[in-house]
């Protein structure tokens, strides 16, 4: 049975940009999120991929209310089927929902307060949300620390005593302590070394299996995304350009940008790097996006129509959506399971 946990509808976010020339003119605004809508199924991992500046981090922050969206709704479906607009809730009322949605940050060095002991860091959400005795808190912290592979004897230490991987475990423990239903992982493994990355990815997977957590996994690394997610949303310049089940997206992408992204990933295999599509040019300026389809200046398949008309995200297959006028017609190149045989 597929149970929805979050319905995101038409989220927009504008950033004010201070103009250097205008003293009194209204500041210009950049549309960082452009009508983002998607649904999230309980227990799945939805990845959001894109290059820097595409708005994926902003989206993540808006979903956990670390930042306020300019417009739109995020409906949260409670366990007993109620539907609540998460963005409308203010102050105390938001608390019970808030604790169900947690976040893990990219940089485990800046996401842990250096001035608190690890125990205090993990316990902080508990203390803020529940009235518990000291013994109960200790019990819970120990439990979660053990689950995330932390040495319980070191909990009184301060974060600076830990390596990057250990710190990320601490961050995960803090996110997990209130048993949230949804965790937004914002580039949660990008700052880590390869060998540590694998440990953390495995840990996230194990925790999901044990605790039925839903993940939104924000990343720029397609290899990791393919490894961890059930569905993938590809973002480009504030828009979702393709949204599909992982196998479907990687096997037969329906948007030229997805194809180019996948092709650009350098594969750890010296014989494989043959036919690569190398996108020309750079990401357009979000303050002044191109007309029609935002991707058309870099697209190899563009036509007149792409310059004129902005494509909507539409369904092109079972569980496969794309925002390309020619999604079905183009025979785009995916990646296949040919590397799996190596080693």
């Amino acid at each position: 049975m597929t149970k929805k946990i979050l319905s995101v509808s038409n989220i927009n976010k504008y950033f004010q940009v201070k103009s250097k020339t205008a003293l009194f003119r209204k500041p210009a605004s950049v549309r960082v999120l452009n009508d983002i809508s998607f649904e999230l199924i309980e227990g799945e991992t939805l990845s959001i991929v894109g290059e820097s500046g595409c708005g994926k981090t902003t989206l993540g922050r808006c979903l956990v209310r670390g930042m306020d969206a300019s417009s739109g709704h995020v409906y949260y479906h409670t366990e007993n089927g109620e539907q609540i607009d998460f963005l409308e809730l203010k102050g105390k009322k938001a608390k019970p929902y808030r604790r169900n949605v947690q976040m893990i940050f990219q940089d485990p060095y800046s996401s842990l307060s250096p001035r608190m002991s690890v125990f205090d860091i993990i316990a902080e959400p508990l203390i803020a949300n529940f009235k518990l005795s000291r013994a109960e808190i200790e019990q819970k912290v120990m439990e979660i620390a053990e689950k995330t592979g932390l040495n319980v004897n070191y909990l009184q230490r301060y974060p600076h005593a830990f390596s990057g991987g250990q710190r990320q475990r601490i961050a995960i423990a803090r996110a997990l302590i209130m048993h949230p239903r949804l965790i937004v992982c914002d580039e949660a493994v990008s700052a880590l070394d390869v060998s540590i990355q694998a440990q953390i990815i495995n840990l996230l997977k194990d925790l999901q299996e044990q605790l039925q957590i839903t993940y939104i996994f924000i990343s720029h690394d397609l290899s990791i995304v393919q490894n961890i997610s059930d569905r993938v949303a590809v973002m480009h310049l504030g828009k979702i350009v393709e949204l599909a089940a992982t196998e479907s997206l990687f096997g037969s992408p329906k948007h030229p940008y997805t194809e180019a992204l996948m092709s650009a990933v350098p594969q750890p295999d010296p014989e494989l790097n043959k036919s690569r599509i190398i996108l020309q040019g750079e990401m357009p300026n979000p303050a002044n996006p191109p007309s029609g389809c935002h991707f058309h200046p870099r697209c190899a398949y563009k036509t007149e129509k792409c310059v004129r008309e902005a494509p909507e995200l539409r369904q092109v297959g079972e569980n496969h959506y794309t925002a390309c006028h020619y999604g079905e017609e183009l025979n785009l190149q995916g990646v296949h399971d040919e590397t799996a045989s190596v080693i």
């Binding site: 290059e51 720029h220 290899s223 393919q226 490894n227 196998e247 992204l261 750890p268 190398i278 990646v335």
Partner: protein
């Protein structure tokens, strides 16, 4: 074998027994501990490892730009065919702020960094800064220098060079800046390019452009590249030979295909297995290397990877320093598992 033939020629740069010690609050850190490798003309050597393994320090010590606290010993013999003064010259023996190393830096050996923003001064135009390098090393004529600079900008794929020439670094995007840095580095036709994580700060699509550019330019200019990176994907794409570093030591060194298809050291194997790759599938659990890299302070003579190794032999790996074992002519590894398979003499 063609590579076999290459071995008979004299390497452009031969680093032997390079050691770097750094005094810290907690003791003396042996950041680089006996590294040796050769770089040949027109070839690319990849130096790969995780953060803190000493790969950046190693590459920077070649042109003596490490901070003063780094105590460097060993030798880095540079051999340039074209210049008599540069026959068999040990770069590490030169005073680090002296005239001779400065004349080599930038002219014979150029370097590009991870963060192009810091490589350029924000106060001068890009064109000015490229010209400066040319004026120091190649020509005294300003007009000629500008012409070369414009040519270089065109070569690295920057369109509208005349306009770009007069722009400041902040007006360039990250990818453009990296291109400009490459053009500055290559403006004096160096024989060796040291690239320290040249694309780590860039997006994948831009990274692909920059890597492609580096390869084309290498073909065109025939320079050697020392590529420092943590990304095995980039290594696979760019390198002829690979040295895998762990805890200040090269644990395995071999031609690129050997490393990827016939890895020997448990660390190399672990790295390759722990990397998620496109085309893999979701259900597959990644093989991770447990534990974390220890600090290289006051370590006993033993295998640095011992605590994390799945194939460790107690009583052997943790009791003595690991010698280098040559598995084949070009494939060497620092691991006791292969001690008896050695072909050549171990050092």
């Amino acid at each position: 074998m063609t590579t076999q033939a290459a071995r008979t020629e004299q390497p452009l740069l031969s680093v032997q027994d390079l050691k770097i010690r750094i005094e810290t609050d907690n003791g003396v850190m042996q950041a680089v501990d006996g590294v040796d490798f050769n770089i040949y003309k027109g070839k690319t050597l990849g130096l790969v490892g995780e953060s803190g393994c000493g790969k950046s320090l190693t590459s920077r010590s070649i042109i003596s730009i490490n901070p003063k606290e780094c105590e460097t010993t060993g030798s880095a013999v540079y051999h340039s065919e074209s210049e008599k003064a540069l026959h068999n010259l040990d770069l590490l023996s030169l005073p680090p702020t002296g005239k001779r190393i400065r004349s080599i830096r930038g002219r014979k050996i150029a370097m590009i960094f991870q963060e192009p923003m810091t490589a350029f001064s924000p106060m001068y135009t890009i064109g000015n800064q490229i010209m400066e390098a040319i004026l120091i090393h190649r020509t005294k004529d300003k007009k000629k220098a500008k012409k070369i600079a414009l040519e270089m900008l065109a070569k690295v794929g920057i369109s509208d060079q005349e306009k770009r020439f007069d722009q400041y670094p902040h007006e360039f995007s990250g990818g453009m800046r990296q291109r400009a840095m490459i053009s500055m580095a290559l403006s004096c036709n160096p024989e060796l390019l040291i690239a320290d994580e040249p694309t780590t700060a860039l997006d994948v699509t831009i990274q692909a452009q920059v890597l492609e550019l580096m390869r084309e330019l290498q073909k065109e200019l025939g320079m050697a590249i020392l590529l420092v990176t943590h990304d095995l994907g980039i290594i696979a794409k760019m390198c002829d030979e690979v040295a895998v570093m762990y805890l200040g030591k090269i644990v395995e060194q071999a031609p690129v295909k050997e490393i990827f298809y016939n890895p020997k050291h448990p660390y190399t194997k672990g790295l390759l297995k722990s990397m998620p790759r496109l085309g893999g599938n979701k259900s597959k659990r990644l093989d991770s290397i447990e534990g974390a890299v220890p600090m290289p302070i006051g370590l006993p003579p033993m295998c640095g990877f011992y605590d994390r190794c799945k194939d460790r032999i107690e009583g052997v790996c943790n009791t003595k320093a690991v010698p280098k074992t040559h598995i084949s002519d070009q494939h060497s590894v620092r691991c006791f598992l292969y001690e008896d398979q050695s072909e050549g003499e171990s050092q």
